[in-house]
Subunit: 185 residues, 2 copies
DNA sequence: TGAGCTGATTCAATGAATGAACCTAGGATG
DNA sequence: CATCCTAGGTTCATTCATTGAATCAGCTCA
């Protein structure tokens, strides 16, 4: 009885009359924002989230279910046989980009040594500002017009395949390319 | 031995090479962002956080300690006899305002029925944009130039005294006025 | 037939959150 | 001087969530 009925769970910030509290009821649990970050990076499959995040399977399953129920991810079938589903970020999830961008920038400015990734406006190759806007163009940049470019601080040879794919510049939202039935040496 | 030594605790997003993960190690625990929100609203005292948040005492004590250790709050003595301390938000904490603003806006847009609070640029009385900028002036608004104005959705007669104080428009960062040794009726 | 892949669920052990009770120091009251 | 009050905590038993290992189910492929 793991329950699907309602409960955003894990909290009752309930007494709080505050949109921030409301938001945190939905995305404030451990791992949740990292799942959404990965979804913005183009991760869509259970296994890809699993290896990239290093999250316990049970927790991942629970988070994907909640996020789907809240309309932040959309669970859709991408092949019939064998039946396989993927979790694709929705507009509601994409709308969290400014939050994640500013949170990441804060983390980098206050706790990061070297730059790990740069997010740039694809049209003019300018690093985005605090909330994801383009300082050069002076406009908000739609998430699909953002490229994530690896920075110097990144480990050059990560263990999991998703991190390895993310070593190359990549547009946000664009799905992770699935390794074509590897054929290693 | 509750430990003061190091551990940001609660997680090891450790494997994640990501500024967002780094940030969440610091502010990603339950209650933490709400404590910071309150600190931006001008809450400074243990008891005020306690009654306004409805947070368990032990958790509040732990969060205040961590946030102080991380340089987000500054614990300072405000009277000697009897000795009393208050927790004042630092620049590092203030730098989380764009994150909280965008998170709150997301919560309101996607899960709020009515507007609870409006945040406005004090100079021109314009509601702030996604990350706390002023759409009218086209500039980033320093947090101390923001007024929080209660909206129609707010409960008119809240139980705790801090919520009651926050029923009136109030500048961010400005300390909560302490009730002058009440003298009711 | 069996080995492998994807997407999970179950379970025992651990670790945090909760809420009530208690503690402490310094006033203030009578 | 005894008592009460306040601010700011700590302690503790219970509950709840997270963890990581093991297992499972449906399907394909050789």
């Amino acid at each position: 009885m793991v329950t699907v009925d309602g409960m955003a769970l894990g909290k009752d910030y309930v007494t709080q009359e505050c949109s921030i509290a409301r938001a945190l009821e939905v995305v404030g649990e451990r791992w949740t924002l990292l799942v959404i970050r990965d979804a913005l990076y183009g991760v869509r499959r259970y296994n890809d989230f699993l290896v990239h995040l290093g999250i316990p399977r049970a927790v991942l399953a629970a988070r994907l279910q909640t996020l789907t129920a809240e309309g932040i991810l959309d669970k859709r079938r991408y092949q019939e046989s064998p039946p396989r589903d993927e979790y694709v970020i929705t507009d509601r999830g994409i709308a969290l980009w400014p939050t994640l961008r500013s949170l990441g920038l804060w983390g980098r400015e206050h706790f990061g040594e070297t730059q790990l990734r740069s997010f740039r406006h694809i049209a003019c190759d300018t690093e985005l500002g605090t909330y994801g806007e383009c300082p050069a163009c002076g406009t908000a940049v739609p998430v699909q017009d953002v490229v994530m470019v690896p920075g110097p601080g990144l480990h050059p040879d990560p263990a999991d395949p998703i991190s390895r794919i993310l070593l190359k510049p990549k547009r946000l939202l664009e799905p992770i390319e699935q390794p074509a039935a590897a054929d290693p040496v």
